[in-house]
């Protein structure tokens, strides 16, 4: 009994000395600033900065290899914090949010065929270009929802992806998984968007979707500076977003939406009420 305690104790002592020595001798120098930076980064490891995770970005920041405003989830607040830690001047990039440019859920947009396969938009898109007749509409199978590290995307019961303006940090993960390029980055300050992604001619769009843009130019005629129509699809000129509201009621298919007054039908998300977030822009 005693021998056992003694021998184990001796082994423990020797190992402790060896470990202590190794810890001193082979210590890895960590820049204290790097730790401080890592502390303030959001820690979502979303990859929006172009690095695999927050640690990589922190390292690059301290080494001065990259701008301070490359972390969309952190936003303006983070840029100020980073500037304080690193002792440099920096200005935040204009905050952006992702928007699903489609309102054609399974109720409003026509389906080409019954889809019973994998719950994945990319897999569905490979079968005759997806079950929706519209070539650009949201498939609603939730690939973006599963990719979102911030739980900002909702799939409505009728199969439409809706992104919360409050939760979206602009990391672009959803954009990289959407097989139809239906999601677009837009300036956070603008709440008005043309929610359609079909470049088909108006007559064709009307056949397969009740709420798609038919390229009629009425929005552009109402507020010429706030809209541009290319290839039968209207788009908000975001620099002029403040006057874009005026055309909303004029749109014959109601495909222009102001997110400040409400999210697309079927969504449980409530319109943006937090003035601070919208003022931050």
């Amino acid at each position: 009994m005693l021998a056992a305690i003694l021998s184990l104790g001796c082994i423990g002592l020797v190992a402790a000395i060896a470990l202590g020595f190794a810890a001193k001798k082979f210590a890895v120098e960590v820049d204290p600033r790097e730790l401080a930076v890592l502390e303030v980064l959001p820690g979502a490891n979303c990859g929006a900065c172009g690095f695999p995770g927050c640690a990589g970005y922190a390292k690059a920041l301290v080494a001065g290899k990259i701008d301070l405003n490359q972390c969309p989830p952190g936003g303006a607040e983070l840029v100020t914090q980073l500037a304080n830690i690193l002792g440099v001047e920096a200005s935040a990039a204009a905050p952006e949010v992702a928007v699903v440019l489609c309102q054609g859920d399974n109720h409003r947009a026509q389906l080409k065929y019954r889809y019973l396969g994998l719950e994945d938009c990319t897999a569905a898109q490979k079968i005759a270009d997806g079950p929706k007749s519209c070539p650009g509409g949201c498939l609603g199978l939730g690939s973006c929802q599963r990719a979102c590290p911030f739980n900002a995307i909702e799939i409505t019961p009728e199969g439409l992806a809706v992104i919360s303006r409050e939760k979206c940090t602009g990391c672009r993960k959803c954009i990289s998984v959407c097989p139809r390029q239906t999601i677009r980055m837009t300036p956070l300050e603008s709440t008005v968007h043309v929610l359609c992604n079909s470049h088909d001619k108006g007559a064709l769009v009307r056949k397969y979707c009740q709420i798609g843009c038919i390229g009629c130019h009425i929005c552009q005629k109402t507020v010429p500076q706030a809209y541009r129509v290319e290839n039968f699809l209207a788009e908000v000129v975001y620099e002029e977003h403040l006057v874009a509201m005026e055309a909303i009621d004029k749109c014959p298919t109601k495909c222009i939406r102001d997110f400040a007054t409400g999210y697309p039908d079927g969504s449980s998300l409530l319109p943006s009420t937090d003035p601070e977030k919208s003022d931050a822009a």
């Binding site: 019973l116 396969g117 994998l118 994945d120 897999a123 490979k126 079968i127 005759a128 270009d129």
Partner: protein, 442 residues
């Protein structure tokens, strides 16, 4: 005398359903009002249009020029006027460029087409004639025939197998061709044998076509061509499974039949080769079985390439009811269509119209590890494992389980009692593997 028929390991036994059309002689399909001839009908680079709207074309005139080696020209199915060159709905599910021709009813052949005496031709000339005629594999995959006919010199082909299996349920196009036009097939076989310089020539036919087997056996009596009856099992007509059944050797994983000195051609391809080499006729028609419970009168039709499906249905007496599923090709590997506006193409061996109640629409259930997919897999893979990896985007693991060997025959999905979309998942995985490989090489 009990004979054990030759076959491969794995596979399934779906109901044949060939009785609808097996006894129906081939009928010439009347010309439709409009032909839609897609420029992409084969594996490889699509051809480029070489006619313009308003131009008059003759039957057999080249309307699409090939682009690159793995590509074939496209020809006018009849004489008439080109009304448009524009994207049109394609059997592959999207809109792809096509030449739209309105027939003039004269059905006049182009003058440039020449017959030739095969005795005056070298193998290279024959292959060139096959290429110019736009011959592709007629079994359904539509791989350019001239590419298959030009193996690299170090790969000597000693066995040439002709595929008269037609293992897809419902289809009887090859069956009728073998019964009604054996001389066209046998001429093509003789030509292909000469081109390949093969020692052994085999025609493999599934045992559910005893009349075709007896007829071809009688025709081949004094020739070196063997006619072999094969077990009735799907996918007996898949290239690698046919080779395993006939030669007893398997094509190595990731390899091609030519690696073991074997080449496989469909019997309809042999007939098209005859037309191309001897008569100089391009591939503008094929046999297509229009069948299924939703069509009034199932038929075997000799159709021109580019005939809209709506016309085929009309020729067969119309629909009995609104079909629940429209499939171009066989039920196992064909392409499901969403409308009748698409044209039949070179690979369209059949048009299948199923009633709503025949279409199984069952939600996916959990895998119960019954291994029926493993049992059915003719490539000795573990479909459920590969599918599970593919669904989780574990690309390297899927590749390790040989996802790329999958021939997408659908046996696993057919067998699955939980209706898991196994083939779709594996196909998704295969696409991810290819994308990853491409990203690594760039």
């Amino acid at each position: 005398m009990a004979i054990k028929l030759k076959t491969f390991c794995g596979g399934i036994h779906p109901p044949g359903n060939k009785q609808w059309s097996a006894h129906k002689p081939i009928e010439d399909c009347p010309l439709p009002e409009e032909f839609i001839v897609p420029l992409a009908q084969h594996i490889g680079a699509p051809s480029t249009a070489c006619v313009e709207p308003g131009q008059l074309v003759a039957k057999g005139q080249t309307i699409g020029a090939p682009k690159g080696f793995v590509s074939v020209p496209v020809h006018a199915p009849t004489s008439g006027e080109v009304v448009a060159v524009e994207p049109r709905p394609h059997p592959w599910g999207t809109s792809l460029p096509a030449v739209v021709i309105r027939p003039d009813g004269e059905d006049r052949w182009a003058e440039e087409l020449e017959a030739a005496d095969p005795n005056d031709l070298y193998p290279e000339d024959m292959v060139e004639r096959v290429r110019l005629a736009g011959v592709v594999g007629m079994g359904g995959a539509a791989f350019p025939a001239h590419v298959k006919m030009s193996p690299p010199p170090e790969k000597k082909i000693h066995t040439l197998i002709f595929n008269g299996v037609e293992c897809e349920p419902y289809l009887t196009a090859d069956h009728r061709l073998m019964l009604e036009e054996p001389e066209r097939i046998l001429q093509g076989i003789a030509l292909l044998r000469f081109i390949y310089g093969a020692e052994r020539v085999v025609i493999g036919i599934e045992a559910n076509k005893p009349d075709a087997i007896a007829l071809l056996q009688a025709e081949c009596k004094d020739t070196p061509v063997e006619v072999i009856a094969l077990e009735v099992k799907y996918p007996q007509g898949a290239e690698k499974q046919l080779i395993a059944a006939v030669t007893g050797t398997e094509v190595p994983s990731g390899g091609l039949p030519m690696d073991i000195g074997v080449a496989v051609q469909n019997v309809s391809t042999a007939a098209a080769v005859t037309d191309a080499i001897i008569y100089g006729r391009p591939l503008i028609e094929r046999i297509c079985t229009v069948t299924g419970s939703a069509v009034r009168e199932p038929k075997n039709l000799r159709i021109r390439i580019g005939t809209p499906l709506s016309h085929l249905v009309a020729v067969c007496g119309g629909l009995l009811e609104e079909p629940g599923k429209i499939i171009l090709g066989g039920p196992m590997m064909g392409f499901t269509q969403t409308s009748f506006d698409v044209p039949a193409v070179r690979g369209s061996s059949g048009l299948l119209l199923l009633r709503e109640e025949e279409v199984v629409c069952q939600a996916e259930g959990p895998c119960i590890r019954c291994a029926r997919c493993v049992q059915g897999c003719p490539m000795h893979l573990l479909p459920t494992t590969i599918a599970a990896y593919a669904r989780r985007n574990l690309v390297a693991e899927a590749a390790e389980y040989r996802a790329m060997d999958c021939i997408e025959c659908g046996c696993c999905s057919y067998n699955c009692p939980a209706t898991i979309p196994l083939v779709q998942a594996i196909r998704y995985g295969k696409a991810a593997i290819i994308a990853k490989k491409r990203a690594l090489t760039l």
